[in-house]
């Protein structure tokens, strides 16, 4: 078991190194001299030179990379060009709305998708199954921001039951929190939901054809138990895998959805940074999101090994 975990963790090192190189190159490839950008419009040549030396920009590229990677390992993501605040602090300030939204979306999608996909898979060909497949193609085709505006139109402008925009922290009461986060959650959740439902359906359907299902039925096990205990349980691995892969959808989702609903989270922070070309902030957020994605998928990989001893090959 320990050997398995160690192997998985070690296999991440090249991935993380490549991500770091790509993100590092992003700043170096950006137009203009970073020292000039950081110094601002009114700086003289001496000030620019000072910044260049203090940032190590006079060193060879490889040396620069190691200096940068070294401070990265100490949790230092650099300083924002515009606000002069450390990037780590900027991200931490904006983390709460984004994490709240990601968690409610995860909950919303999984709680609906898994039962729906299971029933569809167990009753393949039924009207429910067919409509799920239809909705799933639609769910992949409607861009999140378009869906967001449709929901705002119906729930906020026509029915007037939910606020148009904004975010209210859970610490200010559960009511305002739920009413502001409901529409963003549904908007972001649809694509994730249909993705999970599709995989759940496919793997439950595959399990339903297995011998152990026939055996269970022959023993006289109730159909409901056959589906949940035997078919669904054995589908746990593909379902967990797709939940992990789908985190990429959530990350793209927050970037767009936080703009649609005016939520002051990390997604909005990265969009603002890109519009202002604040490269240290862009780099820091890409690293944070990619790191989260990689670690969640690592956790799921290790989770398999606990769930299913056959995985430890």
């Amino acid at each position: 078991m320990l050997a398995f975990i160690a192997k998985r963790v070690l296999s991440l090192i090249p991935v993380i190194v490549v991500v770091a190189i790509v993100v590092f190159m992003l700043l170096r490839l950006s137009p203009g001299d970073p020292a000039v950008v950081i110094a601002g419009d009114n700086a003289d040549a001496a000030a620019i030179e000072r910044i260049r030396v203090s940032l190590g920009l006079d060193q060879p590229l490889v040396t620069q990379f190691f200096i940068w990677a070294g401070s990265l390992l100490q949790g230092d993501l650099g300083i924002s060009i515009f606000s002069k605040i450390p990037v780590t602090d900027l991200i931490l300030q904006r983390l709460e709305p984004t994490v709240s939204l990601a968690l409610t979306t995860l909950f919303f999608a999984v709680v609906i998708a898994v039962p729906l996909g299971t029933i569809a898979g167990a009753t393949a060909g039924s009207w429910l199954d067919r409509s799920l497949m239809l909705v799933s193609v639609l769910g992949f085709s409607i861009p999140a921001f378009v869906l967001g505006y449709c929901l705002i139109y119906v729930f906020s402008l026509q029915l007037r039951i939910l606020p148009v925009q904004g975010f209210s922290s859970i610490r200010q009461g559960i009511g305002p929190f739920l009413s502001t986060i409901a529409l963003p959650t549904m908007t972001m959740g649809l694509a994730y939901l249909v993705l999970i439902a599709r995989i759940t359906r496919a793997s439950v359907l595959e399990m339903m054809g297995e011998d152990f299902i026939r055996t269970a039925r022959a023993k006289g096990v109730k159909e409901r138990i056959v589906v949940t205990r035997h078919a669904l349980r054995n589908s746990a691995i593909p379902i967990l895998t797709v939940i992990g892969i789908g985190v990429a959808l959530l990350i793209s989702g927050v970037v767009v959805i936080e703009t649609v609903f005016n939520i002051p989270g990390v997604g909005r922070l990265v969009v603002d940074a890109i519009l202002k070309r604040d490269y240290p902030v862009i780099q820091g957020i890409i690293l944070m999101f990619s790191g989260t994605y990689v670690l969640i998928n690592l956790a799921i990989d290790i989770g398999y090994a606990f769930l299913d001893p056959r995985v430890r090959y």
Partner: protein, 290 residues
């Protein structure tokens, strides 16, 4: 076995028209939608449109009328014409990104799948690129330069290449061990010819399917970038730009957002249906590779 009269030879010819896969409902509906959007893009000047960039300050935010079928936007430009011309940007970007990602991915995938020594290095790079969520990588790449059609295409292609490489590599790894490849090697076929003539053809069916998904994803991401104000410059009519400009007036004139959204969703739906249909009809094994 009662009817022994065999049908005339011509009708058993292998070239049947229409080929059976076209009759699959997804392929049919998806193909129809895609054909229509391509026609709209090509025939844009003939579809009752006016110049999509013509600014008319006296006509700002007018409701639909006989002159402007879907009204006008903030600058008095005709919303209908902009939506029709917007098809051009989306289709162009979708097709170019799909083509570029397939060509790049096939080249890298063939080489890495076939030569073991390149494999380890290239696949680690691909794994690293795939660890950065597609949308984020695209938006970061666009931020490096002034966005125009060419840079958006490059920025959307790079994140898609690893998916193509993985697929091609997985096909090459299985085909490489097949007897016909052994046979070709034995008679002294050169490596480039072996890759091109004997291994590449096995990848065409799954690549067609992946190509449609990349095209759909590129159109969605481009719209997302333009929506955030980091995609195509605002003077190019594109659905993402229209939604982005229209969202400020969403409460007074939701049509500014809904018309381009409808075009966008129908286009992506058509391409996705086509892809799903091709996946189901071309080769049932493809689904496992995707």
């Amino acid at each position: 076995m009662t009817n022994l009269a065999s049908p005339p030879l011509a009708s058993v010819s292998t070239k049947r028209w229409p080929p059976p896969f076209l009759l699959h409902p997804s392929v049919f509906i998806g193909g129809l939608l895609v054909t229509m959007i391509i026609l709209v893009a090509v025939l844009a000047p003939l579809l009752g449109t006016v110049d999509p960039s013509r600014i008319a300050p006296s006509m700002r935010l007018k409701p639909p009328s006989e002159l402007a079928w879907f009204g006008t936007d903030l600058y008095g430009r005709d919303v209908y014409s902009r939506a029709i011309y917007g098809a051009r940007s989306s289709i162009l970007i979708g097709l170019c990104v799909a083509a570029a990602a397939l060509i790049g991915g096939v080249a890298i995938g063939l080489v890495t799948g076939y030569f073991r020594w390149v494999d380890a290095v290239v696949m680690r790079i691909m794994d690293g690129l795939m660890a950065i969520p597609t949308f984020l990588l695209a938006i970061a790449l666009v931020s490096l330069t002034r966005a125009n059609v060419a840079t958006v295409i490059v920025a959307l292609t790079i994140p898609e290449i690893p998916r193509v490489v993985r697929l091609v590599r997985s096909v090459v790894l299985t085909v490489r061990e097949e007897p016909f490849v052994e046979a070709a090697k034995t008679v002294g076929t050169s490596t480039p010819k072996l890759l091109w003539r004997h291994i590449l053809p096995s990848t065409t069916a799954p690549l067609m399917v992946l190509g449609t998904y990349i095209c759909a994803s590129a159109i969605l991401i481009e719209a997302g970038l333009s929506f955030l104000g980091t995609g195509l410059p605002p003077e190019i009519p594109s659905w993402g730009n229209m939604i982005s400009e229209g969202r400020t007036f969403f409460q007074v004139a939701p049509r500014l957002v809904f018309l381009p959204s409808l075009f966008l969703a129908l286009t992506v739906l058509g391409i996705n249906l086509l892809g799903d249909g091709l996946r189901d009809t071309l080769d049932p094994r493809i689904a496992k590779r995707m």
